[in-house]
């Protein structure tokens, strides 16, 4: 390590949430003019660490020092004043206010006690320019912007506060590849200007490109700090999960679904300007992946199949019979037999305050009841079966599902749907924010379900997953099918190439900075 004096230091910081130790005597040292990456599984303490630094959460013990002086932050405002600014994963933008309002929100320029709108506009324009987001109009309302634009506003907002330490918590997850390139340029320039940056991400290639030093967290503790590039990916993952890291993906069958009639067929599906004339077939036993850059229509396709979108044109056929899916309750009916594991488990997949039991049986209420009266014995039987099948770790079925870890919560979501015995399973980025161990279990489960005859459509932002789990991958670009890759054709190079809509040969020259 260099001899440069640390700008910020955290020593022995702890935080408990009920019985869970989110941070356990954690240490961290941050130096100015460097990008410091933090890695770790979900639940390892990264989020809590940042929240403590940013003043959102009060630690139970330990000490924080800024330039050698002890500090503690009573609120995010206090942390901001000390120069620590955080770009959160759950965005901190106010939807009903404009972009400019949001950028200056912590400290608006005033004149005679009232907000100076002209100055505010100037500050906003400057911040947007520094963030590389000049295409965003300062007067646009945040709620009217798509997610990727909102994240850019979030970055501009952070920059407008003239931070000394900038923390990015999975800040690039929603960005397009072009945005990511621009943001990386901005971050590197900030580093050169003497800022200290803390970068949390799951994406190894991003860390490889940006970081100067890395720290791995596990179980709330700092288990390793090292200079970037001095450890292999495998070594890092082993540090993250604390045990030996073996091959992640279950083997695929050589020939899948051949000769069988497709259980799901889509013909010329279109919807507003987000889906353009999509046609595809899925046969029983197949795991079909949806690839392509973020925001090319993959999520919308899944929602359209599940009956959530209105005004879709085109045809949907189940077992070669045309059907009309007008709502999720129609989609999950026995005649169609679909299931959707949604994008955000906390707001779309679960009712966090309700018990594990109630959540598990929520999609199969018709199965466990006779004429709307619930048969609790049957319910218990099915629930126990599911808990065993998915190895859900929970202290009983009567506790609120919000108390479970992220991985187990996702298992509850999957189990909830499996209880309804679906034939077609749609998954919307199911392993996002899940620890490595649970991810592997989910991969095994998907393969098992496919082998038992289910048809699976699987959207993932992780190339490795698409390569490892899927029999076929359909790459979308601008809402249309760009390319279909089958079996051995599914390689990272091919995925990137078709995602970026360029020929395969050029793919090698493209910066590997996309999702």
């Amino acid at each position: 390590m260099d001899e440069a004096a640390p700008l910020f230091r955290m020593a022995g910081v702890s935080k408990r949430y009920g019985g869970v130790r989110a941070l356990d005597a954690a240490n961290l040292t941050i130096t100015a003019g460097r990008i410091h990456a933090i890695l770790g599984e979900n639940g390892a303490g990264k989020s809590t660490l940042i929240k403590v630094m940013a003043g959102v959460v009060k630690p139970d013990g330990g000490r924080m020092e800024l330039e050698g002086r002890e500090v503690s932050f009573a609120s995010p405002a206090a942390a901001n004043q000390a120069g620590i600014v955080c770009i959160f994963q759950e965005l901190s933008l106010v939807p009903e206010l404009s972009v400019a309002d949001n950028i200056v929100i912590s400290d608006p320029p005033t004149r005679f006690g009232m907000i100076d709108r002209r100055k505010q506009q100037a500050i906003a324009l400057d911040a947007l320019k520094r963030a590389g987001a000049e295409d965003i109009h300062p007067k646009a309302l945040v709620k009217d912007l798509p997610l990727s634009r909102r994240q850019m506003v979030e970055i501009a907002k952070a920059l407008a506060r003239k931070p000394r330490i900038l923390i990015l918590d999975e800040a690039t997850s929603a960005l397009t590849a072009a945005d990511v390139t621009r943001v990386f340029q901005v971050l590197k320039r900030l580093r050169a200007e003497g800022l200290a940056l803390l970068y949390i991400s799951h994406r190894m290639h991003e860390i490889a490109e940006l970081a100067d030093e890395c720290t791995v967290f596990r179980n709330g503790k700092n288990v390793a700090t090292y200079k970037a590039g001095t450890k292999s990916d495998n070594e890092v993952v082993e540090l993250m999960i604390g045990r030996e890291y073996s091959h992640v993906f279950p083997p695929k069958l050589a020939t899948v679904g051949e000769g069988k009639a497709p259980v799901l067929e889509v013909r010329h599906l279109s919807w507003t300007d987000r889906l353009n004339d999509i046609s595809l077939k899925v046969r029983p036993g197949e795991v079909v992946g949806l690839g392509g850059l973020d925001g090319q229509g993959q999520r919308e396709l899944l929602l359209a199949l599940f009956g959530v979108l209105r005004g879709c044109s085109g045809e949907l056929r189940i077992d070669d019979k045309p059907v009309s899916v007008s709502s999720p309750s129609v989609a999950k009916s026995p005649q169609i037999g679909m299931a959707l594991i949604p994008e955000d488990r906390k707001t779309e997949g679960l009712m966090l305050p309700m018990t594990v039991r109630d959540n598990l049986s929520f999609a199969s209420l018709d199965r466990i009841s006779r004429r709307t009266i619930i048969d609790t014995a049957e319910e218990t039987r099915l629930i126990d079966e599911m808990i065993k099948l998915l190895a859900i770790r929970t202290a009983g079925t009567a506790i609120p599902v919000g108390a479970l870890s992220g991985g187990n919560q996702q298992k509850v979501v999957i189990a909830k749907w499996l209880m309804n015995k679906p034939r077609i399973i749609l998954l919307n980025d199911p392993t996002r924010g899940i620890d490595v161990g649970t991810k592997q279990e989910i991969y095994q489960l998907l393969r098992k379900l496919a082998d038992a005859g289910a048809a699976i459509i699987f959207y993932s932002t992780d190339y490795d997953e698409l390569i490892g789990c899927c029999d076929r991958v359909i790459v979308l670009y601008d809402g249309a099918v760009r390319r279909e890759l089958v079996g051995a054709e599914i390689t990272e190079r091919a995925l990137i190439a078709s995602a970026l809509n360029i020929q395969s040969g050029e793919a090698g020259r493209v910066l590997v900075g996309g999702p």
Binding site: F88, V94, P95, E96, I105, P108, I115, K139, A140, L303
Partner: protein, 334 residues
């Protein structure tokens, strides 16, 4: 050129309310017996406006009060009771020589501020939900009103009352001038201040506001306190119109519920974060004009409540037309 387009989108609710009111009032004026029989004249218009203004201004003040709280994603079910309480108090202390009267007015406004502050304190520091809090405080304020005026009575400084309910330059209704002054002195500074912006932020997303370091507590407290102040101005004006104080439960409740209707008609979102008190004022006036329209078209007063109810129902259902444009049903849910 895109600048005004953004402003338009932001103010859409308020502009709609203005438009609705203008249309309704125009219909009313044109069909008014005075105009019908004697033709259009400035005097006639002025007289009609004065009567309409005096009736509508009371609800306008209460609607403004409700707006401030609704912007923070709260609701104030005690606003009609603050209105009643200050009316009763005014009938006691807004009397006598100019100095005494002035002190009386200050006292009444002070009590209004206090009522609002109590609501705010319980919601913020007690961390209770606004709907429950204000149901309870409403009962308390009404009880105090009853203590002050178990039977209708009292009086008020007649000169002041006549001044503020009469006409200025024999043309403009004085009550409207007062309304405009209050808007300029209370609403405009608040909405453009940091606390006012914070109130909008809190209503739109309290978590985002907190994470952004917005002064959440100060914004809410100020919103509730100013709300009490505005309700008390309404109560004061009621005293100016009726020259008495009366603790009428039905009337207080009615003002509370009508203020919610006025606020919705005025384009303020009950979910918080969107809308303007100016819209609420026009919503209040529009609401009041409904009854006037009935009178003008010679409909049996028996049908007025039903007409008012149906118009309200249609008005609030208008927002549903936006649903046709919704393509992703997940947008139905917040």
């Amino acid at each position: 050129m895109k600048e005004w387009r953004f402003w338009l989108a932001e103010q859409r609710g308020t502009l709609m309310a203005v438009a609705i009111f203008v249309v309704m009032f125009a219909v009313y004026v044109l069909n008014h017996p005075a105009i019908q029989s004697n033709g259009f004249s400035v005097t006639a218009l002025s007289n009609i406006s004065q009567t309409a203004a005096n009736k509508g201004v009371l609800l306008a003040f209460v609607a403004m009060a409700q707006t401030l709280v609704v912007l923070t994603a709260g609701i104030d079910l005690s606003v009609g009771m603050t209105f009643t309480l200050t009316n009763c108090l005014a009938s006691w202390i807004v009397v006598g020589d100019p100095l005494q009267t002035a002190l009386g007015v200050v006292g009444v406004l002070g009590v209004g501020l206090l009522c609002g502050a109590i609501n705010g304190a319980i919601v913020i520091f007690g961390r209770l939900q606004p709907i429950v809090t204000t149901i309870a405080t409403g009962a308390i304020y009404f009880g105090v009103a009853l203590l002050l005026r178990p039977f209708p009575g009292g009086s008020v400084n007649n000169d002041l009352a006549d001044l503020l309910t009469g006409k200025v330059f024999d043309l403009f209704p004085a009550s409207l001038i007062v309304l405009a002054v209050v808007v300029l002195l209370v609403w405009v500074p608040f909405s453009r201040s940091v606390s006012g912006r914070a109130a909008y932020a809190v209503g739109s997303s309290e978590i985002a506001a907190y994470m952004s370091g917005v002064p959440v507590r100060r914004a809410k407290f100020l919103a509730y306190t100013l709300s009490g102040l505005l309700a008390s101005i309404g109560g004061l004006f009621l005293t100016f119109f009726t020259y008495t104080g009366e603790a009428a439960l039905a009337s207080g409740n009615t003002y509370t519920l009508f203020s919610i209707a006025a606020v919705v008609l005025g384009g303020v979102s009950l979910f918080g974060g969107r809308g303007s008190a100016i819209g609420a004022i026009f919503g209040a006036f529009a609401f009041r004009t409904i009854g006037d329209l009935l009178f003008v078209f010679n409909l049996d007063p028996l049908w007025q409540p039903l007409f008012q109810g149906v118009v309200l129902m249609i008005a609030v259902s208008l927002g549903a037309f936006g649903l046709f444009r919704v393509r992703n049903r997940l947008e139905w849910f917040g």
